[in-house]
Subunit: 602 residues, 2 copies
């Protein structure tokens, strides 16, 4: 057994170890940490809490904590620390880890672990945490045991640079560090003075020799810098073959940053239509661009029917298509692309071949911004004017048709909700969409006129498109900026992450304001559009009515609650909710049958 | 594109494929399936629902679904099917998978997946599901695409036998089958007649050639059958060296079955004390055995202090120790064992070396039942009578001391709760304990007299000892038997799995009766006993008050709710709750400071 002295030295080293690691992350630019309470993780939690440059959040449910960190990280495209204790706690992160991996969100997963002598022998809260997230992290780093020699070397600095860099560069995503600690976890006594002294010493040490290294690491960027001469020539040749299209899907905040200013210029130069998915974040900009089309889901559905009765195909057949970002939400667009033989150029920032229809002819591993810059500096052929005219006519026609149809549905349905929401949402808000029906409704019902030229930051969990963790992701996005926040999601998604509401109290105390809109159609409305709808077992296995009155959830977590049943109530209540301080829960009761009929009319 | 005929044939094959697999599992003895709704998993969900021998449960949150299945499986030690759709849904199973792995619970994880052509190309709800649970499953089986040749071969039969067998034999645990489906997922039309015809044909086919094979597979057993002659001789020699102890930790239902009758006989024959952990399920039996000791956590704490002041060590120093099952909950017992140099024989049914203190001298890979049988059939030396007497005296003294201390605490604390619960719980109930403080309180406050000779089935999630999924596990245990159910857990554990309460409505409709007792001390009470308690950041990072009024949770899920603040209220309310039909939520408000003081007095 260790003497008291040794024990104290183990505790002290544990703390210094944890603090150093956190400090190195802070030096590289990390500012946020999300902690789920536990014993094993004590040195890490305490180090974050005591570090002057790290803001810590506490969320008890590790699944919600993971998604909260995802939101924090996405908002500024900045690696965010997650901390939890050993055992099944870590496994609760998995849903947010797969979402982070597929949405290119940088996370630093710091799981505490028991030491080697307690592994694989039935010790409490101990399991194999090595490679726990398999292919879904960019790197797994098993830290050595806390050790004085390593502490004095640059070991932790190197580890922190490796982890930070792999989470942010090349292909952003989660990185898992597994960190074993021996007991005692902390020194028996540890005064504020000791801490200050330690911070100073550490800062001095790293200032001396590491500043330049960190600065380099902190400048994250999409790595490839230019299209090769040969590729550019081929590209220009393709663009010469006739008229084409730009399609812009989901982009990370990193991809959006400088690209948003360039895309309209490229559209002008090519004189071509740009189909903008809501998640491209190009629909909600102050200056509305006439070449940007929102309502292709509507008019392509019509066109696809017409193609089958042999109308003029040429008007709708591009010679080439430039695709940015992830594959768009619209199913009509997917089917349309499947029917074409156009030359497709996929601009892929992170090197993934995001092409589920296997139609891309060229994949360029380059950022959208660099791609635009190079093309704008080249001489390229513009599209025919009647080509663009035709697409713009379809857009106007669809916009009119959607708006008329929404007006004519007298019973409250999702079309009214999107419309009313976009009218009243404050400028510069975060707008988060749930998956399943919510994102499809945003895709369908957002028209150029309903978007009102508002500048919004639109988000959704479209990496793996789960109904899990939606509320927590929204809260994370909200917590890492100054503006208002609105989330719109269905009742099943709301139910799935109700535990995430625990953080509302902290957010309210810190002065954040937001409204959560639950479109409650009592069950999985999306399945009404699938063939399962005809089965006898439909209600039990797919529709799954949950019959929950979310008023009680609001009471449980201290949220203001509003219920809306009609168009009139919606028009009166939504602006009222937006005007209240703190976090509001607005439940909109929608009849599933009515909703299906209204959707089908459109 | 496929013709209508081909599409119909794909849909039909998908269904036959899923139904065959489920049917083969049913033939081997599977009776329960837990389904989380989704599109991709449609053929599997429908096959379970339509199979006459499978009872299906629906739980929307896959994390809770996983733990519910864990409970179902543990109750009868029978493999239980889990079904969910592709994407992050599957990742939500992970917490229950690690718990199942470490608690030797057989689960059949059937994840639906998208086909190969949609992998790794940005398709919606698609991710790499291969080897998703790493080392935490007994096997990962990637099923081939649905295929007519394979369907006609015995491919699915072989897969089902492999999966079932690996989940149940040798070392029981979860097995993951990943099952890709192409669209359309179902035939366009499928009548009840078609289904009946198909079931008949399949039954006939399997009856012909597979019955004997399945019967063999269904007879699960712990595989090793005897101690070798040499080992037995060594064992007898060890037992001859002097007096010893038996320690019985957590056992699976499979291990408990025949062992429970044999353990008292072995204790008699060896004339030795048996320290029985609550999870051995040996504390709650009709015939109370005088050699079984419950209160070692109490008297070993005292003894450990005395050893340090040099009392007669010999009275407490066994020459040998026979350990059954997992390492016990009691920390005092752990420290006591660490201080000894006794010869320890670990009886390990599933071959794992469950020895976190590295003290076992012999590990026998044999079931406790077979071990007892062999020893009972051998001539072995009994322990000295004064040895047993001393231990029994300590037990009586501790029992008395615990009961007096509990009586003298006037403010309501956990000791009163355990006492009152054990007095009123119906015989043959399931009793589920949460982790953290709840299990430790059961360990401390269950005395021979407070147990009242009641026969109970005691459970807790002690594989990885998480605070996650506790409610769902309890509901699964409840749902797979006929008796009453009582769960006792803390507020943080209750909060973590509130989504699990969604299944209460189904359980109530089916006539199940249970009471959930939440000991609400507003935060992580266990951390009060750790050194972190002295830190300034204690309240934020460890205690983590959640300030939730669970009355609202009860309302949300339609549970009867009771709140208790004093001993008198507890005595009046608990029997009232137990007498009500359906599921009751009883919240016991406990002051954390009072509770700590009462615990420390004892």
């Amino acid at each position: 057994m260790n003497s008291g002295q040794t024990q104290n030295s183990i505790g002290s080293m544990n703390y210094q170890w944890a603090f150093s690691l956190i400090h190195y992350f802070a030096l590289q630019g990390v500012t946020q940490a999300v902690i789920s309470p536990g014993s094993c993780s004590t040195p890490l939690a305490l180090a974050c809490e005591q570090h002057p440059d790290i803001h810590t959040w506490v969320q008890i449910d590790e699944r919600s904590a993971g998604f909260f960190a995802l939101g924090l990280a996405q908002q500024k495209h900045q690696p965010t620390i997650l901390i939890c204790t050993s055992g099944s706690a870590v496994a609760n992160w998995f849903p947010s880890v797969v979402e982070a991996s597929h949405s290119y969100t940088p996370l630093l997963l710091l799981s505490a672990d028991r030491p080697a002598e307690l592994q694989d022998c039935g010790a409490n809260q101990t399991m194999d945490q090595s490679f726990l997230f398999g292919s879904h992290v960019r790197d797994f780093i098993a830290l050595e045991h806390v050790d004085e020699t390593l502490l004095k070397s640059n070991y932790l600095k190197r580890i922190s640079i490796q982890a930070y860099s792999k989470s942010l560069n090349q292909k952003p995503g989660p990185v898992h560090l597994n960190i074993p600690f021996r007991e005692p976890l902390l020194p028996r006594r540890f005064t504020a003075n000791d801490l200050n002294h330690f911070i100073q010493r550490l800062s001095q040490q790293t200032m001396d020799n590491a500043t330049s290294l960190f600065k380099l690491s902190a400048q994250s960027s999409i790595l490839t810098t230019s299209i090769s001469k040969k590729s550019l020539e081929l590209l220009k040749k393709t663009l010469k073959t006739g008229s084409g299209l730009i399609i812009c899907g989901r982009l990370t905040r990193q991809e959006q940053s400088d690209f948003t200013a360039l895309l309209p210029l490229l559209a002008d130069k090519l004189n071509c239509p740009v189909l903008v998915d809501p998640l491209s974040n190009q629909r909600f900009t102050t200056s509305c661009h006439s070449r940007f089309l929102y309502n292709y889901d509507h008019f392509l559905k019509q066109e696809l029917k017409q193609v089958q009765v042999h109308t003029d195909k040429n008007k709708m057949t591009p010679k080439w298509i430039i695709r940015f970002g992830q594959f768009p939400v619209s199913k009509a667009l997917l089917q349309y692309l499947q029917s074409l033989e156009s030359h497709i150029i996929l601009v892929s920032s992170y090197g993934d071949c995001l092409d589920p229809i296997h139609k891309a002819n060229t994949i360029l591993h380059i950022s959208p911004e660099k791609f635009c810059t190079q093309l704008l500096n080249s001489s390229i052929k513009t599209c025919a004017t009647d080509w663009l005219d035709h697409w713009q006519q379809l857009e106007r026609h669809s916009e009119n048709s959607i708006e008329q149809s929404v007006k004519h549905c007298s019973d409250l349905f999702e079309g009214h909700v999107i419309n009313c929401l976009l009218r009243h949402i404050p400028d510069h808000s975060i707008l988060f969409s749930g998956n399943s029906m919510a994102i499809r409704d945003f895709d369908t019902f957002t028209t150029q006129s309903s978007a009102h030229g508002k500048q919004l930051n639109f988000f959704a969990n479209r990496g793996t498109s789960g109904i899990d963790g939606n509320l927590s992701t929204f809260f994370g996005l909200l917590a890492n900026q100054d503006g208002y926040g609105v989330a719109l999601l269905g009742d099943l998604s709301f139910y799935h992450d109700m535990n995430g509401l625990l953080i509302c109290k902290q957010l309210t105390e810190l002065g954040y304001n937001a409204t959560i809109i639950v479109v409650n159609n009592n069950g999985g409305g999306i399945f009404n559009y699938l063939p399962q709808q005809q089965l006898d077992d439909f209600d039990k296995l797919w529709k799954t009515e949950i019959n929950l009155d979310f008023q009680h959830s609001a009471k449980l977590y201290g949220l203001n609650y509003y219920q809306v049943n009609t168009q009139q109530e919606l028009e009166a209540t939504l602006p009222e909710a937006f005007a209240q301080p703190g976090i509001q829960l607005l439940e909109i009761i929608i009849d599933q049958q009515t909703s299906v009929e209204c959707h089908k009319q459109i």
